[in-house]
Amino acid sequence: MSLGSCLSGEHYVFAQTDQTASKLQAANSAVGQAFIAVLDAEKAGGNVTQLLAKLNTAGTILAKAQNAVNSESTANITSNVENAIQIANQVKNDALNLRNVSLVKSQNNLWLTYSFSIVGAAVFGISLLIVWRRFKRGFIKKLLGSKPEVVENKP
């Protein structure tokens, strides 16, 4: 009887260890995915400072859970893992939103740059034409108004 309870107790411990390991794996995966989302948001030109701070919080909580496992303690492992997953998922969603907003913003900036460049080039071309025509007109006027000078040829 006592051997039976001992064996079932051992089985319970093994099952719990497996469960903890799979939870930790899920949390690691969630944090990794959140990091990739933040990386994409940064590449799209978003300011990821706040997201990095949140990711660091998730990472610290996840490391705390892993350290508890390494130290053969069971204190707060499940709650820490769940906390880390929750923060990581939130960061991932925020990062996806930031990426989309940043992409739209950078697209708008690109169009704005194109528009200003085209308008600027047109204004410059027209100004150049006006200046040229004025200069040309002034030059012709000056040319027509000038009198021929007679110079005596002395032997």
């Binding site: 990091f35 990739i36 940064e42 990711l55 660091n56 990472g59 996840l62 892993q66 350290n67 130290s71």
Partner: protein
């Protein structure tokens, strides 16, 4: 200062150092720092092959660092359950940042360097966003420790 780096270690005394990582990878990075302990005869990470130490991880830190930014944290440690017998020191526990980790490490008396030597070292791992896994970044720092009574 070199004089402030812990070297002669007594059981029950807490020693403190700072661990820092500077990110110069040109983008944000996800690092994991693994704290491990080895005795004098075991091997540290291989810098030539770029392989980490096969020893188990005691403590870990996770950090997400922006490009050009520095991350710094305290690392406190204390040796626990240290015994000396027949020119062998046996270490059964290390407390890192307040958490006790069971270890089974022993070190033979080193006659050349006159001491019982261990290495507390930290390996730097980096997250590869393509493979979705952390991999050893071929960087580590170690503290050479002489256990005393």
């Amino acid at each position: 200062m070199l004089g402030d780096i812990p070297f002669n270690i007594k059981p029950g005394v807490t020693y403190s150092v700072y661990l820092g990582v500077v990110n110069q990878m040109g983008t944000i990075c996800y690092y994991t720092s693994f704290v491990k302990l080895e005795n004098d005869s075991q091997s540290l990470p291989n810098s030539t092959l770029g392989t980490p130490s096969p020893l188990p991880v005691l403590y870990e830190y996770k950090s997400f660092i922006g490009d050009g930014a520095t991350w710094e944290v305290p690392l406190t440690f204390q040796v626990d359950q240290l015994t000396f017998h027949d020119n062998i020191s046996q270490l059964a526990g290390v407390i890192i940042n307040g958490i006790e980790f069971p270890v089974k490490e022993s070190s033979i008396w080193n006659a050349d360097k006159t001491g019982y030597y261990y290495n507390l070292f930290v390996e730097l791992w980096i997250y590869n966003s393509t493979s979705g896994t952390s991999q050893y970044h071929n960087r580590f720092v170690s503290l050479f420790l002489n256990m005393t009574q």
